[in-house]
Amino acid sequence: MEAYIRGIGNISPQHSWDNILFPGEVVRYEGNRLKCIEPDYKAYIKPIQMRRMGRILKMGVSAAGKCLRDASVDMPDAIIMGTGLGMQSDTEKFLTAILDNDEKFLTPTSFIQSTHNTVGAHIAVMLKCNKYNFTYVNDNLSFEGALLDSMMRLSDDPSEKILLAGIDEITDSYFTITKNAGFWKEDIPDNLGLLNHAGSGSIAGEGASFFIVTGEAHPDNYARFAGIDSFYKPESDKEIDDFITAFLAKRNLSLDDIDLVITGINGDPGWDSGYFRLQDTLFKGKTLAYYKHLCGEYYTSSSFASWLAAGILKTQSCPEAILLNNSKVNKPLRNILIYNHLRNTNHALILLSAC
């Protein structure tokens, strides 16, 4: 069960639109919230189509278009999305209108666009694609669900070209509510100092990572998804260690075969301790990296990590900005393991390998 990455379209708080791994410096953000650097949408979406689109929809539609062009695919065989929050801004707009207007005078646009599957559906309408279309909404395993579905489809028919994505936006009200709940660090100077800040919480982020995946090898492929699995609320360190070891063994690999481990370290000391334990035990001696100082914490951040890993495997170069403790990078880079969890509840492993 493998999925080769043929095309990429990425919008993130970094300069990822041109699909180059951090040209020049990584982008520094003051405070605890990272917002996407958005392209000029007018170049990609007709004004008449754009006028009803919320921000996340514009991000999704333009990143999907970029991804399809990158892969030279006109019509995908399936559109499979993962999102934690979906069309959050339109949902808020609709709910606010209900309250403000005493449940009267409700207009259709924000209602139509308040469902989680709006982005996938809108892409399908624009492409006139009436094939398989599914959106997974499973907290921080949303992208993982979409990836698993894509890989299962490709094991049935490797010739398919699937548009796979992880997408989430952070709105002002969501940010405020989660800030009050203690999700985000107070008084953090900037994102690049994430690990130097001892306070609890992380930094908020967002992004849209699109991939065309297929079961067919091709010289233009970036990398391949070679495995995905998840586990829930581990009760002991041993359970985590055993799961990671078994995940690799199922793919005839051991930790010796992993050239880089990208962890979901998000700056919250309470939750990061699990990663740091692994750094000194199971992952001891491995080249370790983290990525949430670049994109922030959000439900589908593992899709950003996947974009990062695909770029690293394709270019055989690893940006220094992601390395932990000045880890040394050994080449060739063949296998990258992404290990991410959110508040020690849903844990996920994604394996990417060079083509």
């Binding site: 008449i48 006028r51 009803r52 207007n101 005078f105 207009t107 259709p108 139509i112």
Partner: protein, 84 residues
């Protein structure tokens, strides 16, 4: 009437997210749907809500919509005739 048409232009630009347009660009006699402004069925629903919310006019028979929403001027005439 002209004052009402000007007000409608501004409201339509806001409600239908026609951010790229200026009120002066909308011809009050041009068709709102199809040719002219090129609005669609979702816009029609937005306009029905606009009439009810801003002018207290409820369109009972959807068939009347075609005539009422032909142009900005027909909308303004209908509002003038039916506003309580």
């Amino acid at each position: 009437m002209e004052e009402l048409i000007q007000k409608l232009k501004e409201e339509i630009i806001e409600v239908l997210n026609l951010e790229e347009m200026e009120p002066g660009e909308i011809d009050p006699d041009a068709p709102l749907f199809g040719e002219g402004l090129g609005l669609d069925s979702i816009d029609a629903l937005e306009l029905i809500v606009l009439l009810e919310k801003n002018y207290g006019i409820k369109i009972e028979d959807p068939k009347d919509g075609r005539k009422i929403f032909f142009s900005l001027r027909t909308m303004a005439e209908y509002i003038t005739e039916h506003q309580k």
